[in-house]
Amino acid sequence: MNGIERIAQAIDAARQDQRPALVAFMTGGFPTRESFQDHLESLTTHADLVEIGVPFTDPMADGVTIQNSSKVALEQGVTLGWILDEIGQREWPAPILLMSYLNPLIAMGDQLAPRCKAAGVAGIICPDLPLDENDLLKPDLEANALALVNLVTPVTTPERLKQLCDTATGFVYAVTVTGTTGGAKSGGPGNAAPVTETVVDYLKTIKQVSNVPVCAGFGIRTPEQVTALGAHADGVIVGSALVEQLAEGNDPGVFLQYLKGQ
C-alpha cells in the first residue's frame, strides 16, 4: 500500500468506528532527540495519523509553542535528514506525514521524495507552499505516491477553495481560525478555539466541495472540541496542545486518550 492509500485507509478506519480520525502533531526531536522514537511510538499508537514537524528557523505560521519547540530542536541539531533516518528505522502503527516549511524541503533537492518514500512517510504538509506553487513539489511527490495536503482557511475564496480541494491528495487541512498555530494564546483548555456556527458552516462548505477527507485543525485542545468538530469533519488535528504535553515531560499518548474521551 502506498502513502496516499495508507492515509485514506487510516481515515476510513476511524470513520468505521464512527469517530473522527485523530491527527497528532509533534515537532521532530523535541524535547530531545533521544525521546523521539518513544514519543513517535506513543503518538502512532494512539492517533490515526501523525504529523512530524520539521523545525525551521523562521516559522511564520506558527504560534509561540511550536516556535519554541522548533528552536529547541534546532539547537540539538535536528534536521530533515535526521528525522527521515529516525522514521525509517521501523514501521509505525499509523501513517506519518511531514509538516515543513518550504526551505528545508527544497534544500534536500531531488532526494526529497525518494527519501520520504524510503523512510515510509505518507505525505507532506507545507504551510508556505500555496496552491499556485504546488508544482514545485507535487509532481515528485505524486511520482512516489506521496500525498501533498493542501490547507484551506476561513478567508479562502470559494473559487480557490474548489481548486484547493480538487488538487489535494491525502486530505484537506481546514484551518479553523485565522491565526497562527495554537490559537491566540497557548496553554490549557481555556484557550481552546470555540466551535462556533461560523466554523461549522465553514466545515460544511468544505465537505460539500471536497472529494478527499477534510481534517480540521488549529487551536484544538479539548474532547468537546474533538466531538463538535468531528461531527462536521473527517478528522481533527491536534498540535500545540500536544507539544505542550511534550514540553512538560508528559506522555502524549495519555493526552490523546483524554481527547478521545477514553
Binding site: 525551521f56 528557523t57 534536521t79 526551505n103 534536500m108 478567508v155
Partner: protein
C-alpha cells in the same frame, strides 16, 4: 525553482521590462511562498496596485505628498573634496535630506496612501534600523491611520532615538524577543500578526523583499530616486554617471536608484552589502555575495542559510543591513551580471563614514557608509570616472552605535 533559462535571454527579458511576470517572478527569483491565509490579502494588494497606482488622482496625491511633505526632489550634491581626494567626480543623491531622514519615506507614504485607498483600517510594519518604522509612523500620522511597528529587541536597544521618534509619532512599537531579535525576527512577527488578522490589516513592508507584489510595489515607490538622479545628473553634470553605487540590505534604496538605470547599460550598477566581521556564515549580511538561493519571508531569492535550509543569523554593525536575504530583483541583476555586488566589512564602512563626515560635512547612516567605501574602492580602480552614490539616509540614528564603537576602539 523554475526551469533554467539562458542568462542572455533572461537579461534581454529584463532589459525589455518583462519582470516581474504575473506570478511575481524575476526570472527564477521572486514569487509568493506564504501561508494560504495571506493569499487573499496579497491578491487584494496586487489588484489594488494595478487599479490604483496609475490613476491620475492617486499620482497627483502622491506627488503632492512627496513634494510638499517629503521634500522631493531631494538634491544631487557634488562632493568636491571627496572628488579631489578620490580622483573622480563624485555626486551624491541626498535621500538623507528627505523627511524623516532616509529613502524609506518614499515607500511608506506610497503604501500608506494605497492602504487608505484599499479601505484598510490598521497598518503594521517592521523595522530594523528604525528608519522604516519612523517613516511608517510619520506617514500613518499624516493620513490618520493607526500604526503598529515590530522591532527586534537588539535593534530597539541600538536604535533608541528612532524608537522614541516612532512613539512620539503615535505608533505602537512592539519589541520582538524571539529569534535573532533583529529585522528578520521583526518580519517574522509582523507576518504572524498579519496571518491573525489578514483582511483588516495592511502590512506596510519596508524593503524590496517578501512575497509578490511587495518587491514590485516597493520598487515602484522607490524608483523616484533613480528617476530624479538621472535627470539631475544630466542637468547638473551634463552626463550620466559611469557607476551608480548603493548599499544593499533588503535592497529598497538600491533598487530605487538602480531600476530606472537598468536600461542605460553604459552605467555600471554597484551594490554594496554588509561584510560584517568576515566571510564566514553568521559573520555578515551579504546574501548576494555569500548566499545561495532559498525561500524566506515568502520570496525565493539569495539567502544566507545552511545545507539543511536553516536560515543563519547575520551580523552587521548596521542594523539596517542586518538581514539574511535580499530582494529578488537584485538576485536577477546579479545572475544576469547587469549589476555587481560586493561586500564591505564593518571597519571599512566606519572608516568611510568618518571620511564622509570630515570631507563633506555629511553624517551618513552606517548603511550608506558601506556604499561610500564601495565607491572609493571603485574610484581607485577607475580613476577619472563619474560616480553617483545613493545616500540612503542620515546617521543621527546611529549615534548610539557609533558611540559604542568608539568606546570599544578607544577604551
Amino acid at each position: 525553482m523554475s526551469a533554467p533559462q539562458d542568462i542572455d535571454t533572461l537579461k534581454q527579458r529584463m532589459l525589455d521590462n518583462e519582470f516581474p511576470d504575473a506570478r511575481g517572478r524575476y526570472g527564477p527569483f521572486g514569487g509568493r511562498f506564504v501561508p494560504e491565509t495571506l493569499v487573499p490579502p496579497l491578491d487584494r494588494i496586487t489588484e489594488g496596485m494595478r487599479d490604483v497606482l496609475h490613476q491620475a488622482d492617486f499620482q497627483h496625491e502622491l506627488d503632492e505628498q512627496l513634494r510638499h511633505w517629503v521634500g522631493r526632489p531631494t538634491p544631487l550634491s557634488y562632493a568636491a573634496r571627496l572628488s579631489e581626494s578620490w580622483g573622480c567626480d563624485v555626486w551624491l543623491k541626498r535621500e538623507d535630506l528627505a523627511h524623516t531622514g532616509a529613502h524609506k519615506i518614499n515607500n511608506a507614504m506610497g503604501q500608506a496612501l494605497l492602504a487608505k485607498r484599499l479601505g484598510v483600517k490598521r497598518i503594521i510594519a517592521e523595522t530594523g534600523a528604525g528608519q522604516h518604522g519612523v517613516a511608517s509612523a510619520a506617514a500613518c500620522a499624516r493620513l490618520g491611520l493607526p500604526c503598529r511597528v515590530y522591532m527586534g529587541q537588539v535593534d530597539v536597544e541600538r536604535q533608541a532615538p528612532n524608537v522614541d521618534r516612532m512613539q512620539r509619532l503615535g505608533a505602537e512599537v512592539v519589541p520582538v524577543t524571539t529569534g535573532d531579535r533583529t529585522l528578520r525576527a521583526a518580519i517574522d512577527e509582523a507576518l504572524r500578526d498579519w496571518v491573525s488578522a489578514p483582511l483588516e490589516t495592511y502590512y506596510l513592508l519596508g524593503s524590496a523583499v517578501g512575497p509578490h507584489p511587495y518587491p514590485e510595489l516597493v520598487c515602484h515607490f522607490q524608483s523616484v530616486i533613480g528617476r530624479e538622479a538621472k535627470e539631475q545628473m544630466l542637468r547638473q553634470a551634463g552626463k550620466l554617471p559611469d557607476v551608480a553605487v548603493a548599499c544593499v540590505g533588503g535592497g529598497s534604496n538600491a533598487i530605487g536608484l538602480f531600476h530606472p538605470l537598468i536600461q542605460d547599460e553604459s552605467i555600471h550598477l554597484l551594490g554594496v552589502e554588509a561584510g560584517g566581521r568576515g566571510v564566514g556564515l553568521g559573520d555578515n549580511a551579504a546574501s548576494l555575495v555569500s548566499g545561495t538561493p532559498g525561500v524566506l519571508h515568502g520570496c525565493f531569492s539569495m539567502l544566507l542559510h545552511d545545507e539543511h535550509g536553516q536560515v543563519y543569523e547575520t551580523h552587521s554593525v548596521s542594523a539596517g543591513l542586518d538581514y539574511p536575504a535580499v530582494g529578488p530583483e537584485h538576485a536577477l541583476l546579479q545572475l544576469t551580471k547587469r549589476a555587481e555586488y560586493v561586500a564591505v566589512d564593518d571597519d571599512k564602512a566606519l572608516e568611510a563614514l568618518n571620511e564622509c563626515c570630515a570631507m563633506e560635512g555629511i553624517l551618513p547612516a552606517i548603511e550608506t557608509a558601506h556604499a561610500f567605501y564601495g565607491a572609493r574602492r571603485y574610484a581607485q580602480d577607475h580613476p577619472g570616472s563619474t560616480i553617483l552614490i545613493g545616500v540612503s539616509g542620515r546617521g543621527d540614528k546611529d549615534l548610539p552605535t557609533l558611540q559604542q564603537v568608539n568606546k570599544v576602539s578607544n577604551p
